[in-house]
Amino acid sequence: MILSNTEDVPGRAIREFYGVVTGSTVRSKHFGKDLLAGLKNFVGGELKGYTELLHEARQEAITRMIEQAKALGANAVVNVRFATSSVAQGAAELFAYGTAVRVD
């Protein structure tokens, strides 16, 4: 599966459109990690626990989007975008979406 955030796959022509595909996951922060991040708040800098958590979650969202695209018979997803929204205290939704297409 080819992914891109441009309007087409550079160097290839789009033959068919299969519509918008989406993938999302809602994650809550691990309590231990949260405590560590709370401490880290005094010192500042990168909160590695959160970086990892969000990275994993985004990968999961992408994987789900790809599955949906595969089911439609697509071989690429173009114009991929990401969105993050806070659903509740301590939980975040990671969302990926794009247009499933068939390219040469």
């Binding site: 708040n41 990168e46 985004r58």
Partner: protein, 155 residues
């Protein structure tokens, strides 16, 4: 007496800790950023949506890099002081600058590892992570995400 000492001492200690640890971490981070930026200087990275027409493209993929950062106690204190009179909050500027450059570097590292030569249509996004500890006062951190379309070019 002892109580007053503790009440005054704890914030002072946290300020000192934030200042020392925060500026040390910032210095070493900037150093590492500069070194890595030089190393990846040759990888073409652009926010143009299309590659130059003369590029012959072999393969395409999505790459991303992200980081979550938070300000230290000392900077937060500085920013609160600044909030009284308004104006430029330098303490936060450097934090966001570091985070953006780090995210872009991670994206480039991912692209290099996968064998890509360039990244086009680079986008940078920031999102606030609400703090569960402080009833939404302040933030737990900011996530900076950099992503783009990586290209492998035919030689």
């Amino acid at each position: 007496m002892l109580e007053a000492l503790v009440q005054l001492g704890v914030p002072l200690f946290l300020l000192a800790l934030g200042y020392v640890a925060g500026s040390l971490a910032e210095q070493s981070h900037y150093k590492s950023i500069r070194v890595r930026e030089l190393r990846f200087r040759r990888m073409a990275t652009t926010n143009l949506r299309r590659p130059p027409v003369h590029w012959r493209i072999e393969s395409v993929g999505l790459v991303a890099g992200s980081t979550v950062v938070s300000v230290d106690y000392f900077k937060r204190f500085l920013a609160q002081l600044r909030g009284l009179v308004g104006g430029r909050v330098r303490a936060y500027e450097s934090l966001l600058d570091r985070a953006r450059r780090e995210a872009v570097l991670r994206m480039k590292e991912e692209a290099a590892k996968a064998g890509y030569d360039a990244v086009i249509n680079v986008r940078l996004e920031a999102s606030n992570l609400a703090s569960p500890l402080r009833n939404d006062r302040g933030t737990a951190g900011v996530e900076i995400l950099a992503f783009g379309t990586a290209l492998k070019l035919a030689r």
